[in-house]
Symmetry: C2
Subunit: 459 residues, 2 copies
């Protein structure tokens, strides 16, 4: 008898567990099916890329993107859509930028360059000087002032191709772009040329942010990126003729800060409305391309999360909020302000997800979480495995949500396949045609599925 | 004392296990590093795609590919390089193929089509008939002879977008291409138009093999694929005007079989030379594009496996053989003959790997193996995990190695990300520019790593 009671209890127990499991499985199946057959992410991105275009903070296009985002979120019929005022830096590329390698009178070769974001201009007549090639700051310091004074520093450290995660390769080379000008200026250089952060050999220079740190204005020097092919050429020409000259002309400028906005929309939770789950990407982009991968993809995927939940008539337990952050690329003002305002309002964020690694096939997520929180996340693995998004790791999540870090809120980043990302990152070819519709939609579905699980299970 | 002895023994044991593990880890690291920094797969594929091009069985290009493959393998300094004679079908697309939708006198719209491989031509003046649209063979049978006689059958079943594995979506739709003509002809149709197996809406018709089964010659009807955009257009025009006419003109032809070859190269094993590990792809391709993904990628990756092992001075325990199979696309004569000859020679294949799913980022492998064999394979997972190729599943491996199936030999297929594959498959855009260098090289490294583990551990 005892045995029979045990069996019935066991059956009841497994049946409940099983039926719950089936519900989640079905819900995630519905999410994927909706995203892949009735998705709007691709059409949205077409508009953002081709009708609006590159949208650097402080530009007219960035403001057009804010208006567009607000209207699209309103059209979804969310419970609340609003803007959050911020001040953003304004840097303008100007009307020309070009460079050449000069090996003698009348003998020069143009090379593809672009100004780095935040750089000052050259003198109106351009800047002509000899070139010293270095791989890193150690080599720079060893050379010292006597070898650097009056010359260009050419940082030519390639992204290491042997690393599987291309973001890791990026992190090992990006300091030549971000701090290269400051360090070279302190040793008397007149300008810096930085090899583009690109694993391919091609003709696209890749821009990106740079900083002069606390370098006095009068010591600041112009900084530009050179395409990988251009870097290879310059390096090989230097190996033949160490005395050649480099000519750089650019008229980029920094202006005073201007007002802009984060765009925010939310669906109110029916059970725990004060527990907030936030998803987002950044609305600004660099100015050379459309910013389709960086981070138009993250923007439309984040909007799509709320659209899918809404259109599949899902009633979230918790409040689900989308934030289109402004100014990730050159200031992080949006993410910083959002976290500050949110803290002032004493809001309780239980989870923040960012998509800012390109619109490629998703392979999983990365988390900033306590051991206990991560154990819970890993218990959802079987829901994610059929969709090949079950690679769950601890690590840095996303720049915009970083300011929400408080040791309690779980932070997460979508991790798409990273192989092609730096082919496009910050370059003129980061355009809509580099996006594959299904890959973009799979990312949106992956994010929606994770948000769904967080909403169901909480932390 | 006893305790101390135990501890020493334990230390010794873990140290051996650890040092072995480290060796394999380092070897695989070296394989990846070599492939990503000194790889030749991309250059080889450039030649195969752009200097040779599409290489349908029986064509001059297919023979040029055989010569090229043999010479490149010889240049690697393998222990043995040879050709294996086979006879292959010869089908020729001819000089023209076009089609239009005719809604009235002087009112016609051209639509992109291509003849299906193996199809007969239309009459010289083309073929003009009304159209009946169906989604599947059930609908076809229900319509019956009275509704089909004298008309085109238009098979318009789209690949289901909701499936994550696009090969699964392909398998659910490809029978309309392979058997559609035979079934429609038996019900009196004069020709068939088949929606291309493509998940995107675009203007590329996708060819592929079709068969008339045992249909008598005089009953055979021409078959063509229409682009997905063309299919959408035809379907919507039919919904407005059921009496419209379709016009098809093509002059493809079947010829008697011609001689061709598999290309084979091997490195002799130093410990178990009679245990053969074979890796390969198919050298033939369809004729519309370059066959860069299908299966140029698999060819150069397979060649690269032996090149990497050779160049990293690895001495395999077992014999490692590469086979460039001829005629996968429309006959499978190469794979069939290789297995037959191999059986006659009483060769012992312990493992066969095929790469024929595109040159995209690899995500794992699929295996045809016994439970015990698969357990062994899964025990290698930790070696594969750092390279994100640890998705190991049971399932169908590859067409060319299928004839080696005997219940003992483990068969395996590389499984790259499948999302973009059918954007290019069998279409004019399957060209070298659709290949990403790193993704291709990661596939070669993944294959080499698996072959290395099989060589080390055996079955």
């Amino acid at each position: 008898m005892k045995k029979i009671i045990f069996s019935v209890g066991f059956l009841l127990f497994t049946s409940i567990v099983f039926s719950q499991k089936v519900d989640h499985v079905k819900q995630i199946e519905a999410i994927y099916n909706f995203s892949l057959t009735k998705g709007k992410a691709y059409d949205w991105l077409d508009h953002l890329s081709n009708q609006i275009g590159g949208r650097l903070s402080g530009s007219l296009n960035a403001e057009r993107a804010v208006s567009w985002g607000k209207q699209e979120l309103k059209d979804l019929g969310l419970d609340r859509v609003y803007l959050e005022n911020i001040m953003v830096p304004k840097w303008v590329r100007g009307t020309f930028e070009y460079a050449s390698i000069i090996t003698g009178p009348g003998r020069s070769t143009n090379v593809p360059i672009c100004s780095l974001g935040g750089s000052i201009s050259t003198p109106t007549s351009g800047l002509r000087a000899q070139v010293v090639e270095v791989k890193n700051f150690e080599e720079l310091e060893l050379l010292g002032k006597e070898n650097i004074n009056g010359k260009f520093i050419f940082y030519n450290r390639a992204m290491p191709a042997g690393l599987i995660n291309t973001f890791e390769a990026y992190s090992k080379t990006v300091n030549q772009r971000s701090q290269g000008a400051e360090k070279a200026a302190r040793l008397g250089a007149v300008g810096v040329i930085v090899r583009s952060m690109n694993l391919r050999l091609d003709d696209y220079p890749h821009t990106g942010n740079m900083s002069y740190g606390n370098l006095p204005n009068k010591m600041r020097i112009p900084a530009a990126a050179i395409s990988t092919n251009g870097a290879q050429l310059l390096s090989s020409m230097l190996s033949l003729n160490n005395d050649l000259f480099f000519y750089l002309k650019q008229d980029c400028r920094n202006f005073p800060d201007v007002p802009s906005n984060n765009v925010i929309g939310e669906i109110k939770g029916i059970e725990f409305p004060n527990e907030i789950i936030v998803v987002g990407g950044h609305l600004d982009s660099w100015d050379l391309g459309d910013g389709a991968h960086d981070d138009g993809a993250g923007i439309v995927q984040s909007m799509e999360v709320l659209r899918i939940l809404k259109k599949t008539n899902y009633k979230p337990k918790r409040t689900i909020r989308v934030v289109l952050y402004m100014n990730e690329e050159n200031g992080l003002r949006g993410g910083t302000k959002y976290a500050k305002n949110s803290k002032n309002r004493k809001e309780n964020h239980i989870f923040a997800l960012e998509s800012d690694a390109g619109g490629f096939t998703p392979r999983g997520f990365v988390f900033e979480a306590t051991k206990k929180q991560f154990e819970k996340i890993k218990s959802w693995k079987s829901y994610l495995e059929p969709y090949m998004i079950d690679r769950l790791e601890l690590g840095g999540s996303g720049a915009d949500i970083g300011p929400l870090r408080n040791g309690k809120t779980v932070l997460s980043g979508l991790r798409p396949d990273s192989q092609r990302y730096f082919d496009y990152h910050h370059a003129a070819n980061d355009t809509f045609d580099a996006i594959n519709k299904r890959e973009l939609e799979l990312g949106a579905a992956a994010m929606t599925s994770l948000i769904y699980l967080v909403d169901q299970f909480g932390f």
